[in-house]
């Protein structure tokens, strides 16, 4: 099996950069990393073959600087650039600049990105291709007052969305006319800040729909296929928290139906590479929501169930190879993914920062960890709060769920608050166990339940806390008898050197 490229630049960081590196190492492709000054020691830098610092911690100073990244690609002799997700992944100007430099952009053509990247243009294209869309306006509204007029046509509740949007940024549910002003202001502000484009439009709000998305692959030789769907209905702040493949909601016939619609949607914009067509599913009908023209965070659940390496296919397709997967691939078994975010579910999922320590990672049958973490890693406010993903696969949904639950019980990430505990509670909820949930689950669940309150383990935790205090107090007591009262950083360094170096040179 020949490698599609000799050397690849990965214009990203964190777990997706490491994920791409892993496939590259397996295929014998050398990898070039770029990094900000904050990521000088990051795992994606250490695991690369070459690394180049391209600027300061803020994304605008480093990971968004397309020119610098192209310059590194030229200097290092990379033949192609994989953008990962986020940052420059859905930036058509960057994709064009890459191709114009004579390098290969590992992703879709810029034109497909442009159409799909604009909510309104994509709605129009989909309607023209006979792909059903959510009822709503097709033009941006000028201001909150104009939004209220459009909203009145469909009737409340409506969804306010950023025209340039993605990832839930700028999105607001508006239940009544009186909420429109505030929602428009914060939503448009968020969109302006995230995309440099504050334009908003209005859509009919589907009450508690399912978020179902279809993985597509398209090569440069005219073949477009789908690899089934993912159910991503468990979201917080309009961002996904738990994803699974296949969906427990739809039938085989519906899978076939929505898969064909997704292939039509991708083909309509001349898609190439891996991409995801997102649908809302409500009362038996699918509505096109958007297409993400990149590899997605939750791609591993599809990989586990279909037995394919999607990153490998992106690389092969970019190198011009033919997509030779068999027709009509069927899901085999089931996979569920939990995102591990540095955030506080008790505080409206606010991102948190800190230094990772006290890591305990699960293993055993059916468990996959995609992460780029290590003890001592700083979680900074500069980047996305996702630390990694925990994925379980099983012969059926029940086994996958039980394995994931077991793995979450083994997992510990210290030093920051994470979403892992909430994910465990959700996996154990009746609705999730039965596979009968929609995008309203998280909110219903949180209003019905005060977190881990009432857990039988809380009393045990209290005893452990008391024993820990006792233990620590005893150590301090002993320490007081003998310790040096000075606590300068130099003295600290000396102690550590003494502990590690085993007391100095010896032969």
């Amino acid at each position: 099996m020949s490698a599609p490229f000799q050397k690849l630049l990965i214009a990203n960081r964190g777990e997706i950069a490491v994920r791409i590196q892993r496939t590259c190492r397996e295929l014998g492709i050398a990898t070039v990393a770029v990094h900000s000054s904050a990521d000088r020691h990051a795992l994606h830098v250490r695991l690369a073959d070459e690394a180049y610092e391209i600027g300061g911690p803020a994304p605008a100073d480093s990971y968004l600087r397309g020119e610098r990244i192209l310059d590194v690609a030229r200097r290092s002799g990379a033949e192609a650039i994989h953008p990962g997700f986020g940052f420059l992944a859905e930036n058509p100007a960057f994709a064009r600049a890459v191709e114009e430099s004579g390098l290969v952009f590992v992703g879709p053509p810029a034109h497909a990105m442009e159409v799909m990247g604009d909510k309104i243009a994509s709605r129009r294209a989909m309607q023209a291709a006979g792909v059903p869309v959510v009822p709503g306006g097709t033009a941006p509204v000028a201001d909150a007052a104009a939004a209220a007029i459009t909203a009145a046509e469909f009737g409340y509740p409506v969804m306010l969305k950023a025209s340039a949007g993605g990832g839930g940024k700028g999105m607001r549910v508006v239940h009544a006319a009186r909420e429109m002003d505030a929602a428009f202001r914060t939503g448009s502000g968020e969109a302006e800040s995230a995309f440099g484009d504050g334009r908003m439009y209005v859509e009919k709000y589907l009450a508690e729909p399912h978020h179902i998305e279809v993985q597509v692959l398209a090569d440069a030789h005219g073949r477009t296929m789908h690899l089934g769907e993912r159910e991503c209905s468990i979201q917080r702040r309009h961002q996904k928290l738990i994803e699974e493949c296949p969906s427990p909601t739809i039938t085989d016939a519906q899978r076939q139906e929505v898969g064909e619609v997704a292939v039509r949607a991708a083909a309509a914009v001349g898609y190439r590479s891996a991409g995801t067509v997102e649908f809302l599913y409500s009362q038996g009908a699918f509505y096109f929501l958007e297409m993400n023209t990149r590899i997605q965070v939750e791609h591993p659940v599809t990989e586990e169930v279909y037995g394919v390496d999607l990153i490998e296919w992106m690389l092969r397709i970019a190198a011009g190879e033919e997509l030779d997967l068999p027709e009509g691939m069927k899901p085999r078994g089931h996979a569920i993914e939990v995102r591990l975010n540095a955030e506080d579910p008790e505080n409206n999922f606010m991102p948190v920062t800190g230094t990772l320590r006290n890591l305990r990672l699960p293993g055993g049958p059916g468990i996959r960890i995609d992460a780029a973490i290590y003890s001592g890693m700083e979680v900074t406010p500069h980047y996305d709060s996702m630390l990694g993903k925990l994925v379980a696969r099983g012969r059926d949904r029940d086994q996958a769920r039980r394995r994931l639950e077991r793995a979450l019980a083994e997992l510990h990430l210290g030093g920051v608050t994470t979403s892992a505990g909430l994910a465990l509670e959700l996996l154990r909820s009746d609705e999730f166990v039965r596979g009968e949930y929609d995008t309203g689950l998280l909110e219903r669940f949180r209003s019905a339940d005060a977190g881990a309150a009432g857990s039988a383990l809380e009393r045990v935790a209290a005893i452990a806390a008391a024993l820990h205090r006792h233990h620590a107090g005893k150590r301090r007591g002993l320490a007081a008898l003998a310790a040096d009262p000075r606590r300068s950083p130099w003295a600290e360094a000396g102690r550590q050197a003494g502990m590690r170096g085993n007391g100095g040179p010896r032969e």
Binding site: K169, R185, T186, G189, E190, S193, A194, R237, D344, N347, N348, M350, P351, V352, T353, R357, N358, R360, S375, P381, H382, Y383, D384, S385, L408, A409, E410, L411, H412, G414, G415, T417, A420, G421, L424, A450, A452, A453, S455, L457, E458, R459, V460, A461, A462, I463, A464, A465, A466, L467, H468, R469, H470, H471, A472, G473, K474
Partner: protein, 178 residues
């Protein structure tokens, strides 16, 4: 030695007698236990045995009295005091503060102020919107009360921990979490 533990909604008193190195007798409301407690890796992993029940315990210290204890994937935020600390707290007038300072939980930019001096904020009510990590985050008061002072302006960049506003907290019964 006796220790006083609190979560956001419950409290426990735990008495510990040390029998031998790592071996304890633990007395708490739920009963008495022979216990074994050991630091297994000096990184935060502990073994706790109560009678014959065993637990793999992860402990992360925010500071000496604020602990996050995780067992089998369930995390508990606890405060732990010894007798001396508890006495000191009692003298200081119990857990509930008279004023609350709302702080930035992380660096960011204040994009919207949702209150003015003199407003009465309910516990948990959003006081302002902070943009950080590309997300707009509502920042709320924990105890709530009357806004006495606003320390920042809309548009201003703030550091993690920076005080944003100061509230006068109305008197109330001591809450469990202190």
């Amino acid at each position: 030695m006796k220790y006083y533990l609190r979560s956001s909604h419950d409290r426990w008193e735990v008495e510990i007698q040390e029998r031998a190195d790592g071996e304890y007798r633990v007395v708490e409301t739920g009963g008495e236990h022979e216990a074994h407690f050991a630091d297994v890796d000096r990184q935060g992993q502990y073994l706790l045995r109560l009678g014959s029940r065993t637990y793999a315990v992860s402990i992360d210290e925010h500071d000496a009295t604020h602990l996050m204890v995780t067992i089998a994937g369930e995390s508990f935020q606890l405060r732990a005091f010894d007798e001396r600390e508890r006495a000191a707290r009692k003298v200081a007038g119990g857990g509930r503060p008279r004023t609350e300072v709302v702080r930035a939980s992380m660096p960011g930019v204040v994009v919207e102020l949702r209150c003015a001096p003199g407003d009465n904020l309910a516990p948990g009510q959003a006081a302002l919107v902070l943009e950080a990590m590309k997300m707009q985050n509502e920042i709320a008061a924990t105890h709530g009360g009357v806004v006495r002072e606003i320390l920042i302006e809309a548009g201003q960049a703030v550091a993690a921990g920076q005080p944003l506003l100061r509230l006068d907290v109305p008197p109330a019964d001591e809450s469990p979490a202190g």
